[in-house]
C-alpha cells in the first residue's frame, strides 16, 4: 500500500470534476479523498502500486467534457488512516479561481427535457454539472448555490437527493432545480405593466404556449434568456421584421437568426438556407453556441430584411433549454437579436426591460432567475479556414488566457471606447470580460463599473494599476484617470499589435498591419492604416497609408461621404453627392475646422463604398465596408490601379489617390470596382511588406484591426503574402476589432512594466 498526492489546476470548478474523480477512484477501489481548494482540486489516493498507476493513466483521459484540468503537482506521500474514498468539503484558500462561462444544455439534460416521463420534463431551466448558466448567475465564489441567483429557490426533496448523490450527474450542481422547486416563466402582453409578475409551474406551461402563439401571430416578444433578453420574431416574416426595425429605429443592421435543431447533426434547417462549411458546422455546434456569420444560399427564403444589402446571415442554434422548447414548438427559424437600445449592453432586468422596450415589444416572456451580469451572444466568422471571434460573449467569457510573462502586480486594462471589453491580469493569468459595448451610454458605464468590480471580487484580485488607451476622451480612459490608481496609457495600435503578439508569443520579430477605424497615434494624428515592426512593448511604425482629412469628428462613423470628401479634396478633385449640400463642409475643410488627419483604412473603405455609389449616410458603423465586401464574390483578378509606394521620412507610404478615378468610373460594374478596390488594398499591403523585408528581418506578419473582419480582403492578403513566403497570423482567440484591445493593453503595458522591474 502506498499513497499519491495530486494537485490539479485549470478549469475544474463547476464542471463535475470532483464527482468524476470520485467515480474513478471508487471504481479502482482506492482510498482517500478529493477536495476543492476554491479553484484547484487536491487528490489523495492510496492503494497498490498497480491501482495507483491505473489511476494516474486514467486521470486526464476522460474528464467531464467541460473540464480543462492539468496537473500542477504529483508526488508520493505518507499513508493516512482512511477506510473509503470521499469528496471532502470545500476549502477556501487563495488558490487559482476559475469562473466558468455559461454552458449550453448537455445531451443528457436535453433528453430529459423532452422525456414526458422524466420529472424535469419541459423544465426550461434544466441543468447539471455539465451544463447551464455560470458566469451570469454567480454572485461570488466559491461557487455555492447560496452565492448564485438560485439562492432563493430551496431544493425539493427529489432535487436535494440528486444534489447529495455523488454518482448522480447533478451531484453538487449548484443551479439545479425542477418544475416543483425551480424557476418559472411569466408571459405578459405589453401595456399590462401594472399587474404583478407571477411565477409557478402552471404559469410556466401556459406562458410558454402563449409566447409561441404570439410569435406565430407575427408579434415581437422580448424573451429573457441566459445573459439577457432577446427580441424574437419570425425570421420569414417581412412584416414582423420591418415592424421590429421601425420600432427599434434600426433600419439596416443585420439581425441574428436562431434555427431549430433538426436532422442528424442538428443543422438541417440551417443548411436549407445558408452555406455551412465543415468548419462553420463545428463552430455552430461547439459548446460556445455562437452566432456564426454564414453566406445565404441562392434559394434562401428567409426575409430579405434580415440583413439588407448583405449576403451573410448570423445563425445560431438554441443553447438554453428555454430556447430549445421554444424552437421545438415553433419548428421554424426565428430572429433573435439582443434586446437593448442601440449601443447599450443587453437588458437583463424584468422591470427595466418592460419600461425600456414598451414601444418595441408586443409581449414579454420573463423568468424569475436574476441575471447577475449581462453576456451578449458571442459572434464568430470563419476567415481563412478558422472561426474567428468578432465578439466575445456568452459561452466564451470570462475568457482566460495565459500571459507570456509573469506580472509583478495585478493590473486592470479598461479597453477602448467602442466594443469595449475589460481585462484583469495577475501573475501569468489574464481574464477578459464579455463584450460590454459602446461606452457612450449610461447603461454601458454602469455595466463597465460593475464588471470591473465583479471580476476583481470573483477572482479575489485587486488591481494596483490601470492600463488605458492613450485617447483621453475614451470613457474608459477618463475612468482610469479617476480611479486613483497609477495609470499606464497605451497607444491604440500598439495595443492592437500586442494583442496578436500576445496570442502567438513564440513568433518574433513581428510586422503587424493594424488596419482599423481610427485610434490615437504616437504623433497625435489618428492612425488606422499602419504597419508596426518589432515586438510588444517596442513597436516602431514603418509604413502607413497617405494621410487625409476627416471632417466632423465622430460623425464620420455614420456619414461615410465625409471620408470620400476628405480624400477627393486632399488631391484637388471635386466631391459632391446629390442629397447633401457640402459647400459648408468644403469651407470647413479649407479652414481645418473640426478636421483631423488620419491614415485610416477603415475610412478608405467607407470612402470607396460611397465613391462606387453607396449611400452617403448609413445607420450603423461599418455598414459601408460591409456592403463593399458583400459585392465581392469572384476570385478573378482585375486590372487594378497600383498604389504608389514612396519614402516619407522614415516611413513607407502608400498613396491611395489612383483609386479615386477608378472607383468613380461608370465603365465597369459596382462588383468589379469593389473587387478591384479590395485587390488594390491587398496589393498595397503586399508591396509594403516586401519593401520592409528588404530592410529588416521579418519573421512573420500579423493582420489585425477591425478591417480584417473582412474575409474577402483578409484571404486575398494571406494568399498573396504566402505566395512570396511570408508566414501570416490572424487573431484566433480574440476579436481583431477593439474587443481584443484590453488584452493587447495588458500585453503591451506588461512588457514595458517588466523592462522597468
Amino acid at each position: 500500500m502506498q499513497a499519491d498526492y495530486w494537485l490539479i489546476g485549470g478549469q475544474v470548478q463547476g464542471v463535475g470534476f470532483r464527482p468524476y474523480i470520485y467515480r474513478l477512484a471508487t471504481e479502482l477501489c482506492l482510498l482517500g479523498w478529493v477536495k476543492n481548494l476554491s479553484g484547484q482540486v487536491e487528490i489523495h489516493v492510496q492503494g497498490t502500486e498497480t491501482q495507483l498507476h491505473t489511476f494516474a493513466t486514467q486521470l486526464l483521459k476522460h474528464p467531464p467534457p467541460l473540464a480543462k484540468p492539468f496537473i500542477l503537482q504529483h508526488t508520493a506521500c505518507a499513508l493516512v488512516a482512511v477506510n473509503s474514498f470521499s469528496i471532502a468539503s470545500s476549502l477556501q484558500t487563495q488558490a487559482d479561481i476559475h469562473v466558468p462561462p455559461d454552458y449550453f444544455i448537455c445531451d443528457d439534460c436535453l433528453h430529459e427535457l423532452h422525456n414526458p416521463c422524466d420529472r424535469h420534463y419541459h423544465y426550461p431551466f434544466i441543468n447539471c454539472t455539465q451544463c447551464g448558466a455560470r458566469y451570469t448567475l454567480i454572485q461570488r465564489l466559491p461557487y455555492d448555490r447560496a452565492d448564485t441567483s438560485m439562492a432563493n429557490f430551496p431544493l425539493c426533496a427529489d432535487c436535494q437527493a440528486e444534489y447529495d448523490n455523488p454518482s448522480n450527474r447533478r451531484f453538487h450542481a449548484q443551479p439545479l432545480a425542477c418544475p416543483a422547486c425551480g424557476v418559472g416563466l411569466c408571459f405578459r402582453e405589453a401595456q399590462t405593466a401594472t399587474t404583478p409578475f407571477i411565477y409557478n409551474a402552471r404559469q410556466t406551461a401556459t406562458a410558454l404556449s402563449a409566447c409561441v402563439q404570439a410569435l406565430q401571430a407575427g408579434k415581437i416578444v422580448a424573451i429573457k434568456g441566459i445573459g439577457g433578453y432577446h427580441l424574437l420574431c419570425l425570421a420569414r416574416s417581412d412584416t414582423a421584421i420591418q415592424r421590429l426595425r421601425t420600432r427599434k429605429a434600426r433600419p439596416d443592421k443585420p439581425l441574428a437568426v436562431m434555427f431549430p435543431i433538426h436532422g442528424k447533426d442538428g443543422l438541417t434547417f440551417i443548411r436549407q438556407q445558408l452555406q455551412v462549411s465543415p468548419v462553420a458546422a463545428r463552430c455552430l455546434s461547439s459548446p460556445v453556441r455562437p452566432i456564426v456569420l454564414l453566406p445565404r444560399r441562392t434559394d434562401c427564403n428567409l426575409s430579405a430584411f434580415l440583413a439588407p444589402q448583405l449576403n451573410e446571415i448570423g445563425a445560431m442554434l438554441p443553447y438554453s433549454p428555454l430556447h430549445h422548447l421554444l424552437l421545438t414548438a415553433l419548428a421554424e427559424p426565428i430572429v433573435a437579436t439582443s434586446a437593448n437600445l442601440s449601443g447599450e449592453p443587453v437588458l437583463t432586468d424584468n422591470q427595466l426591460v418592460e419600461q425600456r422596450l414598451q414601444t418595441v415589444a408586443d409581449a414579454f416572456l420573463h423568468h424569475n432567475r436574476e441575471i447577475i451580469r449581462p453576456a451578449d451572444d458571442s459572434v464568430m466568422r470563419v476567415i481563412h479556414q478558422q472561426p474567428r471571434p468578432l465578439r466575445i460573449g456568452r459561452g466564451l467569457a470570462p475568457l482566460e488566457l495565459t500571459l507570456p510573462f509573469r506580472l509583478p502586480y495585478p493590473v486592470l486594462a479598461v479597453g477602448a471606447q467602442l466594443k469595449n471589453t475589460i481585462a484583469l491580469a495577475w501573475e501569468q493569468r489574464v481574464v477578459m470580460s464579455p463584450h460590454i459595448g459602446d461606452l457612450g451610454t449610461a447603461r454601458s458605464i454602469d455595466v463597465f463599473n460593475q464588471i470591473i468590480n465583479d471580476l476583481q471580487r470573483l477572482y479575489a484580485v485587486s488591481a494596483t494599476a490601470v492600463i488605458c488607451d492613450a485617447h483621453p476622451q475614451y470613457a474608459s480612459s477618463r475612468w482610469a484617470k479617476q480611479s486613483g490608481l497609477p495609470v499606464h496609457s497605451v497607444y491604440h495600435h500598439h495595443a492592437h499589435a500586442s494583442a496578436i503578439a500576445g496570442e502567438f508569443p513564440q513568433a518574433l520579430p513581428w510586422l503587424v498591419f493594424t488596419w482599423d477605424g481610427v485610434g490615437l497615434g504616437q504623433d497625435g494624428t489618428l492612425w488606422g492604416g499602419d504597419a508596426l515592426y518589432g515586438q510588444a512593448g517596442a513597436w516602431q511604425r514603418v509604413a502607413r497609408m497617405r494621410p487625409f482629412s476627416l471632417l466632423g469628428g465622430d460623425k464620420v462613423g455614420r456619414e461615410p461621404y465625409r471620408s470620400a470628401a476628405g480624400l477627393c479634396w486632399e488631391v484637388g478633385l471635386p466631391f459632391s453627392v446629390a442629397t447633401i449640400d457640402s459647400d459648408l463642409l468644403y469651407h470647413a475643410w479649407q479652414k481645418r475646422l473640426n478636421c483631423v488627419t488620419t491614415t485610416s483604412v477603415g475610412r478608405l473603405f467607407d470612402a470607396a463604398a460611397v465613391l462606387i455609389g453607396f449611400s452617403p449616410v448609413v445607420s450603423y458603423e461599418g455598414q459601408a465596408p460591409m456592403f463593399l465586401e458583400s459585392l465581392c464574390c469572384s476570385q478573378i483578378s482585375h486590372d487594378i490601379p497600383m498604389l504608389p509606394l514612396s519614402r516619407v521620412g522614415d516611413l513607407w507610404e502608400s498613396d491611395w489617390s489612383p483609386l479615386l478615378p477608378y472607383l468613380q468610373t461608370t465603365q465597369s460594374s459596382q462588383q468589379i470596382r469593389a473587387e478591384g478596390f479590395h485587390q488594390a488594398m491587398a496589393q498595397a499591403l503586399l508591396q509594403q511588406a516586401l519593401k520592409i523585408r528588404t530592410e529588416k528581418t521579418v519573421g512573420q506578419i500579423g493582420l489585425t484591426g477591425g478591417v480584417f473582419q473582412n474575409r474577402y480582403l483578409t484571404e486575398l492578403v494571406i494568399a498573396q503574402l504566402n505566395a512570396v513566403g511570408f508566414e501570416v497570423f490572424l487573431p484566433t482567440q480574440l476579436p481583431c476589432n477593439d474587443g481584443g484591445m484590453s488584452f493587447g493593453q495588458i500585453i503591451e503595458a506588461g512588457n514595458r512594466l517588466l523592462e522597468r522591474v
Partner: protein, 334 residues
C-alpha cells in the same frame, strides 16, 4: 478727431485721448452719473445687498450677426447679475484698444454698447481706455464690472437643489456660438441665424416670485452641457436632459450637423437655465412663455438621484452620456 484709425497717441493721455473719450465713449454712454472729469464716481445706494460681478470680453470677430463685442459686454455683465437674483444697475468699463482699429468701427461698437445698456436699464458709471500696440490685441478687449441690487428672496444656490427638481431653459441653444463661428470663418450668413445675445433680466425677474426657484445660470462658454455638468458636480446628483425637448433652431442644427459640432456645448449669451421645484415648473414655464424672450422656453430635464453625471435621453429612450467639454474633441470611432 482727424485720424480714421486708432494710434498709440490715442492712449498717451493727451489731446487725442481726451477727444476719443469725449467724442466716442462719453458721447454715447452719457448718463447723469457718468462724469469723465473726475477720478471716481459717487453712486446713490440704499439697498442692503450689493451684488458685484466682473467680466472680460474677447471675441473674434468684433462684429457678428445679432451683436458685437459692445453689446456682448453689457449683456454678459448684466446677465451674471440677473441670474444671481439681482437687478443690474451700474457698470464700469475698461477698453483695451489695439493700435490700428478703425475709429468708425469703434464708434459702432460703442453705440451698440450704449443701446444695450439703455435696454438693460444700466448706466456705465466709470471707465478707462488704454491703447495697446498693433499685434498685441484683437482690435478691442473690454473689461467690465457690474453692480446690482439683490431682489431675490431665495438663496439661489447649488445647495438648495434637490433630486426631482426640474430644469428649464428660456430659449434655443447654440445660436451665439454658431453666429460667431460663421462670422469668424467668413462662411457668410445662414438664413436667419443670429446670436441670441440679450439681457436676461426680464426672464430672471419673472421667476423670482417662485418659492421653489433653486438656481439660475446663463449658459455661456461650454453651453448648456457645461452648466448641466456644473450643477451635477456641485450637487452630486445626476442630471437627465430630454433631448427632444431642448429647443434648437433648425439653422443652428443644420450647421452643427454639417460641421460635427454639438449645439449643447455651444455658447449662448441671452438664455437662462433655471432649476425649480418640479411642482412649480409648469407655472414658471407658462410665465416665461408670455415674455418675448421666452417664446421657446421649455422644461428640458430633471435632477435625479445617483452619482454625478449628465445623461441625454434620446427620442427612442436611449441614454447617452454627455461628457465634460474637451478642448479639442477627436473622433473615437474605430
Amino acid at each position: 478727431m482727424q485720424d480714421t484709425h486708432i494710434t498709440l497717441a490715442h492712449g498717451n493721455g493727451g489731446r487725442l485721448m481726451r477727444e476719443l473719450i469725449e467724442q466716442l465713449f462719453a458721447k454715447h454712454l452719457h448718463n447723469p452719473t457718468l462724469n469723465t472729469q473726475l477720478d471716481a464716481t459717487t453712486l446713490p445706494w440704499s439697498a442692503s445687498q450689493l451684488v458685484v460681478t466682473t467680466d472680460g470680453f474677447i471675441v473674434k470677430p468684433l462684429e457678428f450677426s445679432g451683436g458685437n463685442i459692445g453689446s456682448l459686454a453689457i449683456h454678459g455683465t448684466v446677465n451674471d447679475l440677473a441670474v444671481a437674483g439681482a437687478k443690474p444697475l451700474y457698470i464700469t468699463l475698461n477698453a483695451f484698444i489695439e493700435e490700428g482699429l478703425e475709429i468708425a468701427i469703434l464708434e459702432r461698437l460703442i453705440i451698440s454698447m450704449a443701446q444695450a445698456a439703455q435696454q438693460a436699464g444700466v448706466s456705465v458709471v466709470a471707465g478707462d481706455t488704454k491703447v495697446v500696440q498693433r499685434g498685441e490685441g484683437g482690435g478691442l478687449y473690454l473689461a467690465t464690472t457690474g453692480f446690482g441690487v439683490r431682489i431675490a428672496t431665495q438663496s439661489l444656490d447649488f445647495s438648495t437643489i434637490q433630486a426631482g427638481d426640474a430644469l428649464l431653459i428660456s430659449g434655443a441653444v447654440g445660436n451665439h456660438g454658431i453666429a460667431v463661428m460663421l462670422a469668424r470663418e467668413q462662411f457668410g450668413l445662414r438664413g436667419d441665424l443670429q446670436s441670441d445675445s440679450a439681457c436676461v433680466f426680464p426672464l430672471t425677474e419673472a421667476l423670482l416670485p417662485f418659492t421653489g426657484l433653486r438656481f439660475m445660470r446663463d449658459p455661456t462658454r461650454g453651453g448648456l452641457a457645461t452648466v448641466a455638468h456644473e450643477i451635477s458636480q456641485a450637487t452630486g446628483h445626476a442630471l437627465v436632459l430630454e433631448q427632444p425637448t431642448i429647443p434648437i433652431h433648425d439653422s443652428v442644427q443644420t450647421v452643427c450637423d454639417m460641421l460635427g459640432y454639438d449645439p449643447l456645448y455651444l455658447a449662448c449669451e441671452g438664455r437662462v437655465v433655471a432649476v425649480i421645484a418640479a411642482d412649480q415648473a409648469e407655472q414658471a414655464l407658462a410665465i416665461w412663455k408670455t415674455l418675448p424672450q421666452g417664446q421657446q422656453a421649455a422644461i428640458i430635464g430633471h435632477v435625479q438621484t445617483g452619482y454625478a453625471r449628465v445623461i441625454l435621453r434620446t427620442a427612442l429612450g436611449g441614454e447617452r452620456l454627455l461628457e465634460e467639454l474637451e478642448d479639442d474633441p477627436l473622433p473615437r470611432i474605430c
